[in-house]
Symmetry: C2
DNA sequence: TTTGACATATGACACCGTGTCACATAAAGT
DNA sequence: ACTTTATGTGACACGGTGTCATATGTCAAA
């Protein structure tokens, strides 16, 4: 987490810093990013950066976390809009993130984050779906989801549904961007795989 | 790819280097790894390293690729052993990788690779190297898989089955290691999610 | 207004890691 | 033997990170 000094900053200065960091993390991965570039863009001296953040990672995961927070709000809103249809909400989410990523060309934060996605980043993204924080925001999802559509017995089953959905959705997001699929191709593949998951991979006879 | 010089090396010296690199990449992630440590372990001067590899990444992905090659052989063998039962072969693979990872404690290559898994690494894992071999290997799988168990129409459907299977399997592998689940917990979660995927997440009526 | 305690700003610097390059040595070809 | 080609070597330039001594600002109590 950023240090208290960061949050004590005047909003404008904080924004300048956030935007500068976002710019650098839009250019390259966390590991290729250079603090010097952030400093140059934000116009602050080197020492100041370390007043606000522990290090580069700290700044990066702060940005990802903030992004994830907003996405979660969107997701909850989508669930409400679609009468608890989890698949449709996820599908719209997929579509939205992908469109946004394509519209903004090579240099945009979310594209870069997705391309360099690893476990820690994915966890920061889906912190609501992990076992530890399950009760905090999982409850919110659970109440909203229309359970009628699922072949599930209990609350724990929904956890696994979310796990599967997020695994496949993220995999498709990353792949679509990395392989530079067109929006149509990406959605086609995603819908196909989603329908297979819904229906089941095996013959019902087995 | 490593430079020709690397492959011209006498087998013993090449092995020393490979083991040294593996040791370093077992300790920390690709980005935290230091070439200096590899040099020290292998007992070669700095310049030599750059005779053999383009850079750190080059060495790392060579090791991952070699590992993946062996895993693929195992997988094909498993498919044969289990009469083309793709799910069972995948399950055994999951079990094997996880067991191996646990048995060897904190410092082992595959654990570290899984923990720092990203798209490029996963791609190296699932599609081994050249374009030509991809089609060839896919064909190999296609011929071996017992299509009777699946609700699939054509060859393209199997592609999507493999996509889903690998997404969920990798996700579980990484999560099990990162969250330090016991082998029992990990297998329980995996089996549960696999059975949900096989049967389908939605009620058959929908 | 002065004072002192605490928070914040600053940039020079020590440290570490990468990749290169000029030169040394070995191996192979003729 | 001599030339050519391949490989070995380590000093070094360059760039990046995190720290620290010092400067500057803030604010409340005296």
């Amino acid at each position: 987490m950023p240090k208290p000094t960061f949050f004590n900053l005047k909003e404008e200065k904080r924004n300048v810093l956030v935007e500068a960091a976002k710019k650098e993390f839009s250019r390259v991965s966390l590991y290729d990013a250079s603090i010097a570039n952030i400093l140059k863009t934000a116009g602050i001296p080197r020492g100041s950066f370390y007043q606000y953040f522990e290090n580069k990672e700290d700044a990066f995961f702060y940005l990802v976390g903030e992004h994830a927070r907003k996405r979660f709000e969107t997701f909850i809103a989508l669930l409400e809009t679609h009468d608890g249809d989890l698949f449709e909400a996820t599908r719209v989410m997929f579509h939205t993130m992908l469109s946004f990523s394509y519209e903004n060309g090579q240099n945009n934060f979310i594209r870069n984050v997705l391309l360099n996605m690893n476990y820690k980043i994915e966890k920061t993204f889906t912190q609501t779906l992990t076992r530890e924080t399950i009760d905090q925001r999982y409850e919110e999802i659970f109440l909203l989801v229309n359970k009628d559509q699922f072949a599930i017995d209990n609350k724990s089953d929904l956890y696994h549904v979310l796990q599967i959905l997020s695994a496949v959705t993220f995999h498709n997001l990353v792949q679509s961007i990395a392989e530079e699929l067109t929006l149509g191709e990406a959605l086609g593949k995603y819908d196909k795989e989603m329908s297979m998951i819904k229906r089941g991979l095996c013959k019902s006879s087995s």
